[in-house]
């Protein structure tokens, strides 16, 4: 079995988000980059499914050379080899197209992504890959098990869950519950340095969206403190002042 895991390189979760150049650019000064937390979950499940020599895992990233530490981290955690498509990720459409083109030439049984990248938060890449390849895509899954040439998947829906069977090959975007993220061990870190990392060129595709600028949320007004001895007054304030109940 061959599994492709898509990984993105994102600002650390503690990053204070600020912008430069008249709010058109994310301020990367002092920002630490990490492997997207959801992609760690996808990778962890891929490793479990391949345990005991049952398959191989390829990591794919669309990014410039600065993403290589993140790719190496994924190799250290347990993937076998990696591909970097050398381009700045313009939008999800562009990223998914590049990944799909690669996947077309290298038949994979399963393609996994994270539920969303924590910087762009589009939740778009997985389903777009599915459409480019004309294979099923399941977004935001919480469980994934194999049963012959099918997978049994649980996905989240509003106020509940849906359990479905899917024919291989398919794409799925992984959320918490699918697996616990794995920490690389010393052996993994050593071997990651020598695992193959292939760099390929991006392919041309027409642009469908263009990023314009950012905005930070408006600051909140001052906080109104309610004395704990009169906590019940809060309910009144929520009704008469905030008008939310």
């Amino acid at each position: 079995m061959k599994i492709l895991v898509c990984v993105s390189n994102v600002p650390d979760t503690t990053t204070k988000i600020t912008f430069t150049n008249d709010n058109t650019q994310f301020n990367t000064a002092g920002v630490q980059y990490i492997l997207n937390p959801y992609d760690e979950i996808a990778l962890a499940r891929a490793i479990e499914l391949c345990e005991g020599g049952k398959g191989s895992i390829t990591i794919i990233n669309v990014g410039e050379s600065s993403t290589e530490p993140t790719i190496r981290k994924a190799l250290a955690i347990g993937a076998d080899d990696a591909v970097r498509i050398n381009a700045a990720p313009r939008d999800a459409y562009f990223v998914a197209y590049q990944i799909a083109q690669y996947a077309k030439q290298n038949a994979f049984d399963i393609i996994l992504t994270g539920r969303e990248s924590i910087d762009y938060n589009g939740s778009q890449v997985a389903a777009m890959i599915g459409e480019f390849l004309d294979i099923p895509s399941i977004s935001i899954i919480k469980k994934l098990d194999l049963e012959g040439s099918n997978a049994i998947i649980q996905r989240e829906i509003e106020g509940g869950k849906e359990i479905l069977t899917v024919q291989l090959p398919f794409v799925a975007s992984c959320a918490e519950g699918v697996a616990e993220a794995k920490i690389p061990n010393m052996r993994g870190i050593m071997s990651a340095r020598t695992k193959p990392l292939q760099v390929i060129d991006a392919q041309q595709i027409e642009q469908v969206s263009e990023f314009k600028k950012y905005e930070t949320p408006a600051p909140r007004g001052a906080v109104t403190m309610v004395d704990s001895a009169e906590a019940e007054k809060l309910i009144n304030l929520l009704h008469t002042e905030a008008k939310v109940i």
Partner: protein, 325 residues
């Protein structure tokens, strides 16, 4: 040219987020001086379909094929894309729900369309440009995306647009699609819905609690307060990691992003990753025994004190407020 809106149902019923999406799509159609058509897939009563007219959709395409009664991502995407082409739709609007997140990207690829997910406002259409504001960096910021393709797709976040009612009943037209066998490689086996609970991503009121609650046995009061208010319950990440609460309740940067009218945080410190998922809440109430807890910095109302004393008082206060109103 026209605007097409996909009206999602849950077990044959439309939800508030669906009405938000139609109201939004109607305004987009007005902005572009064109008309709005809705498409519904599944088993929805004629009456409910007609009622969509009230929110601005004069025409409703109804797809009720047996094969499409339950959600099949690929097949639904094909039907919606086909309807968009037949209707000459230049803008397609969906809810940024779990289902919408699975559908919108596929439709975008089919129609070679730019997609603005997690939209929070109407597009700006000045100078022939089409620019949509969406959340980014897990709620820590907003981004403005110009859709430059011929067809444009918007997935609207819940609680981002007010429902507007002023139209008259819609004309319902059956829509038969050319179904494609290769679209049916997934099959739903089971749907489990906790019907008595308010769904967190769409909730207008949320009562959330953190490690300050000490253990899962103390959640009864959180649930009681939530039930009385008609709110959804939520929690911080360590709480769901420890198995005190299910993962679906975890909000924040690596959990669900919520934007309710009211978010009550009890015994949650207010770490940056938690705040990311809740900062677009309209009103934030923080209850924490530590006056230095960072959460107070983004709160609208705060109470410094022990949750185990304050929550029961709030429960009593809501009860008496309800019996007086």
């Amino acid at each position: 040219m026209s605007v097409l809106v996909y009206v999602e149902n849950a077990d044959g019923k439309f939800k508030k987020s669906t009405y938000e999406v139609i109201s939004y799509a109607k305004t987009v159609a007005d902005q572009l001086n064109t008309h709005l058509t809705a498409i519904s897939i599944g088993d929805v009563s004629h009456e409910d379909l007609e009622s969509l007219g009230k929110y601005g959709s004069a025409k409703v395409l109804n797809v009720s094929d047996e094969q499409l009664k339950t959600f099949v991502n690929q097949a639904y995407a094909s039907v919606i894309a086909e309807a968009a082409s037949k209707e000459g739709a230049k803008v397609v609007v969906l809810a940024n729900s779990f289902t919408g997140k699975g559908l919108a990207p596929r439709i975008a690829v089919k129609l070679q369309a730019g997609l603005a997910d997690s939209a929070v406002e109407l597009p700006s259409t000045d100078d022939g440009k089409f620019i949509v504001k969406k959340t980014a960096f897990s709620g820590k910021a907003f981004a403005f995306i110009e859709l430059t393709s011929d067809v444009k797709i918007i997935a609207l976040n819940p609680n981002s647009y007010k429902v507007v009612e002023n139209g008259s009943p819609a004309t319902v037209v059956d829509f038969a699609s050319d179904s494609n066998e290769s679209d049916f490689k997934t099959m739903v086996k089971e749907i489990v819905r906790a019907t008595d609970k308010v769904s967190l991503p769409e909730a207008e009121l949320v009562v959330s609690a953190g490690r300050g609650m000490k253990g899962p046995e103390n959640w009864a009061m959180i649930e009681e307060l939530a039930d009385l208010l008609g709110a959804a319950t939520a929690c911080s990440k360590p709480v769901s990691d420890a198995g005190w609460r299910p993962h679906e309740e975890h909000v924040g940067q690596t959990g669900i992003a919520v934007s309710p009218n009211l978010y009550i945080a009890i015994g949650i410190s207010g770490a940056i990753q938690h705040l990311a998922g809740v900062s677009s809440s309209k009103t934030i109430v923080v209850i924490n025994k530590d006056p230095e807890a960072p959460f107070f910095k983004v709160a609208d109302y705060g109470i410094v004190g022990d949750a185990f004393e304050i929550v029961p008082k709030l429960i009593e206060a809501v009860k008496s407020y309800k019996s007086n109103s």
